[in-house]
C-alpha cells in the first residue's frame, strides 16, 4: 500500500482511530498527517455570505462619506478591504496592483505580488540536523533579504541560540554571540523559527481569524486583517512572531521584488508577521531561502506526505525530537542528530 498523499484519500484513518495499520513502517506518522489534514479541513472559515457583503457595503458607504475628506481612494479601499479568504480573484488583482503601486511610490522598485496556492497532497516540513549546524547564521540573513525584513537585528524570523553542550537550558544560552567566531568549543547551536504547528496556539489566540493554517501546513497572516493586538505573540512558545513596531523601511536595493501576498510582501506598520517557509518559493517548487543559504547542509526541507522525500526519511529513521513537545503544539519542524 502506497501512502495516501491526498487529503481524504485515506481509508484507514477515519474518526481519529488509528490502530490496525499493516503498513511496514511509520503508521503513526501517516495517521498523524491524516489526522492533521482532517483538523485543517474543519478549521476552514465558513463560506462568505451575501449578508456580510450587504452589511459591509452599507457601513462602508456610510463611513466612506464620513471619512472621505482627506483620504485618498486607495486609503479608503484599504480600510474596507475584506479578509483574504473572502476575496475573489478580481478583488485580489486590484489589491495586489494597489500594493505594488504603493511600494513603487515608496521605494521606487517595481515589485510583483503573486498569490501561490497550496499544492494538493503537499505537507511541508522542516528537519534540522543539529550535528551539522555551527551557528553561522547565514540562514538568518538570507531569510531577512528574501522576506523583505528591515535592517533591524530584532526583525528576524530565525533566532539561533548558542547553548552549552550537555544542556538545553535556554536561559543559559545566548542569541547575541559573534557569528564570525563559530563554532565555539563546548557549544552547540539551536536555530528556532516558526514551527508551523499543527496545533498552533497563535491561530487559536487570534481574535479576528487574521492568522490561520493553510492546507499545506503553513501558518500565514493576512497583514491587512491583523489588528495588531499581539495576543499571538504571547501565545507562541517559540518566539516566532514579529510585530511591526514601526513602518518597515527597506533600502531600495535590498527589496526583493518577487513577493507573495501572504508571505514576503512589504508589511504595513502595526501588524504581526512570521516565517512562512517562503511559501512564494516553496509553493513554486523551490526551496526556502534559509535552506539554500545553509553552508553546512544542516537544513532539510520537503513534503512530509511524500514517502520518498528526504524529510520523510529523516522523520521515520532518525532520532528526531521536537522543541517543547510537552506543549502539544505538534510542530512541522523537527530537530535531529545525524
Amino acid at each position: 500500500m502506497k501512502l495516501p498523499v491526498l487529503p481524504g484519500a485515506s481509508s484507514g484513518c477515519g474518526g481519529g482511530g488509528c490502530g490496525g495499520h499493516d503498513h511496514e513502517r511509520g503508521p503513526s506518522l501517516e495517521c498523524a498527517v491524516e489526522d492533521r489534514v482532517e483538523k485543517l479541513v474543519s478549521q476552514r472559515l465558513e463560506e462568505p455570505g451575501t449578508r456580510r457583503d450587504i452589511l459591509r457595503g452599507g457601513i462602508a458607504a456610510a463611513l466612506g462619506l464620513a471619512i472621505a475628506p482627506g483620504c485618498t481612494t486607495s486609503e479608503i479601499d484599504e480600510f474596507f478591504q475584506k479578509h483574504y479568504r473572502e476575496l475573489k480573484d478580481d478583488e485580489k488583482k486590484k489589491i495586489f496592483a494597489r500594493l505594488e503601486e504603493k511600494t513603487r511610490r515608496r521605494t521606487g522598485v517595481t515589485v510583483h505580488i503573486t498569490d501561490p496556492q497550496p499544492l494538493e497532497g503537499v505537507h511541508f516540513a522542516y528537519a534540522l540536523n543539529l550535528s551539522h549546524c555551527n551557528g553561522n547564521r547565514r540562514c538568518v540573513e538570507a531569510c531577512a533579504r528574501e522576506n523583505n525584513l528591515p535592517d533591524d537585528p530584532q526583525m528576524r524570523y530565525i533566532r539561533v541560540v548558542e547553548l552549552d553542550n550537555g544542556s538545553q537550558h535556554l536561559e543559559k544560552g545566548t542569541t547575541a554571540y559573534d557569528p564570525e567566531k563559530v563554532p565555539q568549543p563546548g557549544k552547540f547551536y539551536l536555530p528556532v523559527q516558526c514551527h508551523q504547528c499543527d496545533n498552533p496556539p497563535c491561530v487559536k489566540a487570534c481574535p479576528t481569524k487574521a492568522t490561520w493554517k493553510e492546507p499545506d501546513g503553513i501558518v500565514v497572516v493576512d497583514y491587512n486583517w491583523c489588528i495588531g493586538c499581539r495576543y499571538c505573540q504571547a501565545a507562541c512558545p517559540y518566539h516566532a512572531r514579529r510585530f511591526n513596531w514601526v513602518e518597515p523601511e527597506i533600502e531600495p536595493e535590498r527589496v526583493n521584488p518577487d513577493q507573495g501576498y501572504l508571505s514576503n510582501r512589504i508589511r504595513p506598520v502595526g501588524v504581526v508577521e512570521k516565517c512562512t517557509f517562503c511559501l512564494h518559493r516553496t509553493r513554486n517548487g523551490r526551496y526556502p531561502a534559509c535552506y539554500e543559504a545553509c553552508p553546512t547542509g544542516a537544513r532539510k526541507f520537503g513534503n512530509l506526505a511524500d514517502p520518498h522525500s528526504e524529510v520523510r526519511h529523516i522523520v521515520e529513521n532518525k532520532r528526531v525530537w521536537i522543541l517543547k513537545e510537552e506543549l502539544g503544539t505538534e510542530p512541522r519542524f523537527f530537530y535531529f542528530y545525524g
Partner: protein, 422 residues
C-alpha cells in the same frame, strides 16, 4: 421622544453647571486627557515604537492596567449583590453609582486596548457580521463578547432606572431585574475570561496556572471595596451625598475576607513556584528576586506585598480599623498594592524570560505613563459627570415636571433619593 431629548439636554445642563472647584477638577482632568490625546496621536503617527515594548515584552503597562480595571468593573458586584439579593436598603441607595463605576471601568478597559493595538483603524474586524470573531477558540474574542454585554447591561440598568425616576414613574421590574441578576454572573465572567486569556497560554508558564481566575476574583473583591470607600468618602465630602456608616462597615467586612484570602492565594503561588524549583519558576524568580542580574521588579512587588500585609492587619484588628486615618491609609495601600501585584507584577514577568530564554526588561516610558494616566483621568471625568447627574435625579433636583411632588407613587421601588434618607 421629545421628553427624552429634553432629558438629554437637562443632563448635559446638570453636568456643565457647578462650583468653581468643580470646574477646576474637570479642567485638571481634561488637561491630562488632552496630554494623553497628544501622546496617542504620536503613537498612531509613528507606530508603537514610541513605547518601550518590544517583541520580547509585547504587552506593557496598557494591558497591566486593563487587567486591573477589569477587576474594578467586576467589583461593582460588591454593591449589586447585597442590594438586590440581600435587599440592603442602605446599599440600594448607592447601587447605581456602583453600576456606573462598572460602566466607566469597562470603558477604560476598552480604551487601554484601543490605544495598545497596532491597528485601531481595524478594530471593526471584531464586529460579527462585517468582521470575524474567532469563537469559540480565542479568549480575546470571548473578552470582546463579555465586555460588550457587561457594558450594555450596566448602561441599561442605571439608565432605565434613572429615566423612570426622572419621569416620576414606577420602573417595571421585568425591564431591569433580569439584567441585574444576569450582570452578577456576568461580573464574574468578565474577570474569569480575562484570567483565562492569560492562564490558557502554555507558552507562558508563569500565567499557566488554574489559580489565576480565583486570584483575579479575590483581588477584585479586595481592591473594589477599598476603592469604593475612598470614592464614596470623596463624593460624600464634595457632593454632599449621604452614605450611611453601615455601608462602610459592609465594605470593611468584605475586605476582612478578601484581603487574607488574596494573601493566601499569593502564598500558594509562591510555594508552588519555588518549592518545585523547576525551570518554569524563572519568571517568578525574576519577579521576586531578579534573574541573572535583571532586577527591576523585586522592589515593586515587595513594596506591594508589604502594603497588602499592612492593610490586611489594619482591616483585621478592630482597634486599628476604628482609627479613620489609618483605615483610609489601608484602603489606599490596598488599591496601590493590588494594582502593582495584578498589573506589573503579573503581566511583565510573564514575558521575562521570553520563550527562548532571552531576558529583556520592560518599564513604561513617560509617553506610556502619560497615556495611561490620561485614560484614568478620562474615566474620572466620565464618572464625575455620571455621578453628578445620578445624584441630582435621585435627589429629585432633576425631574420631568419640576413642580410635582418629589415622591411619585410607588417610587420606593426606585433607589430612594440619596441625601433625603438617614
Amino acid at each position: 421622544m421629545k421628553d427624552f431629548i429634553v432629558y438629554v439636554f437637562r443632563m448635559i445642563g446638570c453636568v456643565v453647571k457647578g462650583s468653581r472647584n468643580y470646574y477646576l477638577w474637570l479642567g485638571t482632568l481634561a488637561l491630562f486627557v488632552g496630554m494623553a490625546g497628544l501622546e496617542w496621536y504620536h503613537t498612531l503617527h509613528d507606530g508603537l515604537i514610541v513605547t518601550n515594548m518590544s517583541d520580547h515584552v509585547s504587552w506593557g503597562i496598557g494591558i497591566a492596567n486593563f487587567v486591573y480595571f477589569v477587576g474594578v468593573a467586576a467589583g461593582a458586584a460588591v454593591l449589586v449583590v447585597p442590594a438586590y439579593v440581600f435587599h440592603r436598603e442602605d446599599i440600594k441607595e448607592l447601587v447605581l453609582l456602583g453600576e456606573l463605576l462598572a460602566v466607566v471601568a469597562v470603558s477604560m478597559c476598552l480604551l487601554f486596548i484601543m490605544t495598545d493595538v497596532g491597528r485601531p483603524d481595524r478594530l471593526w474586524h471584531l464586529t460579527p457580521g462585517i468582521g470575524f470573531l474567532n469563537l469559540p477558540s480565542s479568549l480575546l474574542s470571548w473578552d470582546v463578547v463579555v465586555f460588550t454585554g457587561y457594558l450594555l447591561m450596566n448602561l441599561h440598568i442605571p439608565g432605565y432606572l434613572l429615566f423612570m425616576r426622572y419621569r416620576g414613574r414606577k420602573p417595571t421590574a421585568l425591564m431591569y431585574l433580569p439584567f441585574v441578576f444576569l450582570s452578577m454572573i456576568w461580573a464574574v465572567s468578565i474577570h474569569t475570561v480575562t484570567a483565562f486569556l492569560l492562564s490558557g497560554l502554555g507558552s507562558r508558564p508563569f500565567w499557566n496556572t488554574p489559580i489565576l481566575a480565583p486570584r483575579f476574583l479575590i483581588s477584585a473583591g479586595a481592591s473594589a471595596p477599598a476603592l469604593l470607600i475612598i470614592l464614596f468618602t470623596a463624593i460624600r465630602h464634595f457632593a454632599g451625598l449621604k452614605v450611611k456608616d453601615s455601608v462602610f462597615e459592609y465594605f470593611l467586612s468584605v475586605l476582612r475576607v478578601t484581603m487574607p484570602i488574596n494573601l493566601f492565594l499569593v502564598g500558594c503561588e509562591v510555594f508552588q513556584e519555588f518549592y518545585t524549583g523547576s525551570l518554569h519558576a524563572a519568571s517568578a524568580y525574576y519577579l521576586y528576586f531578579g534573574l541573572h542580574g535583571h532586577s527591576m521588579l523585586p522592589k515593586f512587588i515587595w513594596t506591594a506585598l508589604t502594603f497588602n500585609i499592612f492593610a490586611t492587619v489594619v482591616f483585621l484588628v478592630p482597634k486599628l480599623r476604628a482609627k479613620k486615618p489609618l483605615m483610609y491609609l489601608a484602603c489606599g495601600l490596598t488599591v496601590v498594592g493590588i494594582w502593582t501585584e495584578k498589573g506589573m507584577g503579573l503581566i511583565f514577568p510573564g514575558f521575562v524570560p521570553n520563550p527562548l530564554g532571552e531576558i529583556v526588561e520592560y518599564a513604561p516610558n513617560l509617553g506610556e505613563i502619560i497615556l495611561n494616566i490620561g485614560i484614568v483621568a478620562l474615566g474620572a471625568l466620565l464618572y464625575t459627570a455620571m455621578a453628578k447627574v445620578t445624584i441630582a435625579i435621585q435627589r429629585g433636583e432633576l425631574r420631568l415636571h419640576p413642580g410635582s411632588t418629589p415622591e411619585a407613587p410607588g417610587a420606593a421601588e426606585v433607589p430612594a433619593p440619596v441625601g433625603s434618607a438617614s
